[in-house]
């Protein structure tokens, strides 16, 4: 299994995906911080916590839009490497278990998304230091909430991953992922958000204060993830690869 992971990492070595994963959250935090600086008086006039404001400004757009879109891009890339060059035929003639390939690709994809979350957290801390926000730093919120939204973003990851493996055109998982990301703001306002996994990362960070904390997402996301993972694994190990 460790060898599989190394092989998968080698396949991605020349791809620019890590740059995308790393730089994108920094951009969002930069815009959140510059937004905060523009409206400095409005945000700090009532004596609110500066850390809260910087975090809230950044996390709204990050959890609603950027995180699902980046997950879509990264997971589509996982399937694209093999799909593009007729690679499934060659990869599956090797003496490896299909289960190992499926699991190791998913682990690598989810690790890259985790790097994304870490970069987001670090960017917020750096932005706060640059704006000279006073201590105490609310570590619980800045570190805790993004990590929670990582946990509830697993359903999105597994759904896009399964679609990208099963369809040979890279546009299918990309289009589905992005198309399902766009209505999240509207769906999150209704009471049907619980059946729509794309709203889960936003709900986990309580949308920067827009929504209340709801404990339902954790069991829902775990059940959804385990079910989808098992179904995907079963389909992958039994499917006939023709292209």
């Amino acid at each position: 299994m460790r060898k599989m992971l190394q092989i998968e990492m080698l396949k991605l070595k020349h791809s620019k995906v890590l740059w995308i994963a790393a730089l994108a959250p920094a951009f969002i935090v930069f815009q959140g911080a510059s937004n905060f600086l523009r409206y400095y008086d409005l945000f700090t006039g009532k004596g609110q916590n500066i850390w809260n404001q910087i975090y809230t400004q950044s996390v709204i757009f990050y959890s609603f839009l950027l995180l699902p879109i980046l997950i879509t891009l990264i997971m589509s890339l996982m399937g694209k490497v093999e799909n593009d060059n007729g690679g499934w035929k060659y990869a599956l003639t090797l003496p490896i278990k299909r289960k190992d390939m499926y699991i190791s690709k998913f682990i690598l994809g989810s690790c890259i998304v985790f790097i994304n979350i870490l970069v987001f957290i670090v960017s917020i801390l750096i932005a706060g230091k640059m704006v000279k926000a006073p201590d105490p730093i609310p570590y619980g919120m800045i570190i805790g909430q993004p990590l929670l939204s990582y946990i509830v973003s697993f359903p999105i990851m597994i759904i896009i991953y399964i679609i990208s493996i099963n369809f040979s055109h890279v546009g299918v998982p990309l289009g589905l992922g992005i198309g399902l990301t766009l209505p999240t703001l509207l769906v999150a306002n209704t009471k049907y958000w619980i059946v729509y996994p794309w709203t889960y990362p936003a709900m986990a960070t309580s949308g920067g204060g827009l929504f209340e904390q709801n404990m339902l997402i954790y069991p829902f996301s775990i059940i959804l993830f385990v079910a989808a993972f098992a179904i995907g694994l079963y389909k992958f190990t039994t499917k006939d690869i023709l292209s």
């Binding site: 791809s15 620019k16 995906v17 995308i20 730089l23 994108a24 951009f27 969002i28 930069f30 815009q31 959140g32 510059s34 937004n35 523009r38 757009f61 839009l65 950027l66 879109i69 980046l70 891009l73 589509s76 890339l77 694209k80 593009d84 055109h169 890279v170 546009g171 299918v172 990309l174 289009g175 992005i178 198309g179 766009l182 209505p183 703001l185 509207l186």
Partner: protein, 248 residues
């Protein structure tokens, strides 16, 4: 001229089996559907809150902002630009296209015209969807066709910058994911950076925010920015494409 027109037809043929038509239809009609559902559910709240605007303007505002058309439209254009190059890459690269008796400049320009035509389709579909939604909801105010005409034209001009910029960025790399990511991150980051009008003039992705034809909106940013950046990046893209050595 005939070769130029046939190369535009060629571009459309290449997209026939692909996703561009699905994107054009789904995203534009989907957004007007979302705006329809939104106004249908929140009709009383919205008319009370925006008592200065008539109902058609409220529908337009909801389409542009709440249904996130101002993000969806540049996103769709980014995807179409990337797909245009992806189809070439998948079928063996630009080698075959470049054997045709057409100059590289005209080839690049024909791709640009293709994206422009797709975006015009999207605007027309979206506005038709909105008008249909308004008719179904039986709005009390009479239909002001000039409002939607202005909306369409402003949007189109403001998006020329994004079209040219994304076409150039997509021509630089073979990897569709990289060009898509450049577009997406650019759109999402610049839409907020552009809250000050001064910075918004410099960012092509933000011009669409200023294309709503209501009172108090500074539409000149949309028009000037769109034309300036549209021509600028078209020129840069053509020069770059002409110099590029197509090896694969």
């Amino acid at each position: 001229m005939k070769v130029f027109l046939s190369s535009i037809k060629n571009e459309f043929l290449k997209q026939k089996r692909g996703f561009t038509w699905i994107i054009v239809l789904l995203l534009s009609l989907g957004t007007s559907f979302l705006a329809f559902v939104d106004v249908y559910l929140r009709y009383d709240y919205l008319t009370k809150k925006q008592n200065l605007l008539n109902t058609w303007e409220i529908l337009l505002l909801e389409n542009h902002l709440s249904a996130l058309w101002f993000i969806t439209f540049p996103l769709a254009v980014t995807t179409i630009c990337s797909l245009l190059y992806y189809v070439d890459y998948k079928d063996g690269g630009l080698k075959y296209t470049l054997t045709l008796p057409i100059s590289k400049n005209k080839l690049y320009f024909s791709k640009w015209v293709t994206v422009v035509i797709f975006s015009i389709f999207m605007i027309i579909l979206n506005i038709s969807g909105l008008i249909l939604a308004g008719k179904i909801l039986n709005f009390p105010d009479s239909l002001d066709i000039y409002l939607f005409l202005k909306y369409g034209i402003y949007q189109f001009i403001s998006l020329l910058g994004v079209i040219s910029l994304q076409l150039w960025l997509s021509s630089r790399t073979n990897n569709i994911i990289v060009s898509l990511a450049q577009g997406f991150v650019g759109i999402i980051a610049s839409l907020f950076l552009a809250q000050s009008q001064f910075i918004a003039k410099l960012i092509p992705y933000a011009h669409i925010l200023y294309s709503i034809p209501l009172k108090g909106e500074n539409n000149s940013i949309a028009i000037q920015g769109g034309i300036t950046f549209g021509l600028l990046f078209l020129f840069i893209g053509m020069v770059h494409f002409k110099r590029k050595d197509i090896l694969d």
